[in-house]
Symmetry: C2
Subunit: 132 residues, 2 copies
């Protein structure tokens, strides 16, 4: 089971912003997040724009501008992020509707698991890993 | 969330074989399954070989040869099929290990849901849909 690159980048950029948010109301720059997450600036810019559009990030314009989390990390569920960024699964052709319904149930179980986890949980787990 | 084309073909070919198995010990041909599932013969042949190798299909050589389910449909879990055909997820880099662990929990929930379903369930659901 794979997530799109777009979802992967979104999760990583949001986690990055959640970790920075722990240090105060600092702004992140596209250049910085692109460098640290090893993605192109162009892609980072697109992902940040999309996440800002839906309110998960907040952007500040100007010379000392940048972006930060749009809501507290405790209130951003991982399921919400994945639902926003993953393309909808096709309904499938009628020939395989039995399978499609079953895969759709399994996808719901996947998302339900992520609904129980927030960006704050991911950030805490990342910090714990650093201390080990 | 997407499955590979290889998993999709495997599920469809196995479901096809499960539906045919309901009609008796008939053999399916590659040509027939490729035509009905709209996949190339070449791909169908590769998928059938792989499924036969792991015992999910049984092949019979010769002029009137073909393939059929290798085990009763009631004993083939959908989770087992997906585990066999999906590539393993990379462990991810250390930078995002919090996320990786959480996605891995969600993947387990996805597979656990499929573990509760068999090819026989998918076949029954397909037949019910035909009757509506």
């Amino acid at each position: 089971m794979r997530l799109t690159a777009h979802t992967d980048y979104s999760l990583r950029i949001l986690l990055h912003a959640a970790l920075v948010a722990k240090e105060g109301p600092k702004l992140l720059s596209i250049a910085q997040v692109a460098y640290e997450q090893r993605i192109s600036r162009n892609v980072a810019m697109k992902v940040v724009s999309m996440l800002a559009e839906v309110g998960l990030l907040e952007t500040v314009r100007g010379r000392s501008g940048g972006f930060r989390l749009g809501r507290p990390a405790e209130e951003i569920g991982l399921g919400e992020i994945v639902r926003l960024t993953e393309p909808r699964r096709n309904a499938g052709d009628g020939n395989n509707c039995g399978l499609t319904a079953m895969l759709s149930r399994a996808t719901n179980a996947f998302l339900a698991e992520l609904d129980g986890l927030t960006l704050a949980d991911a950030a805490a787990s990342r910090l714990r890993a650093l201390l080990i």
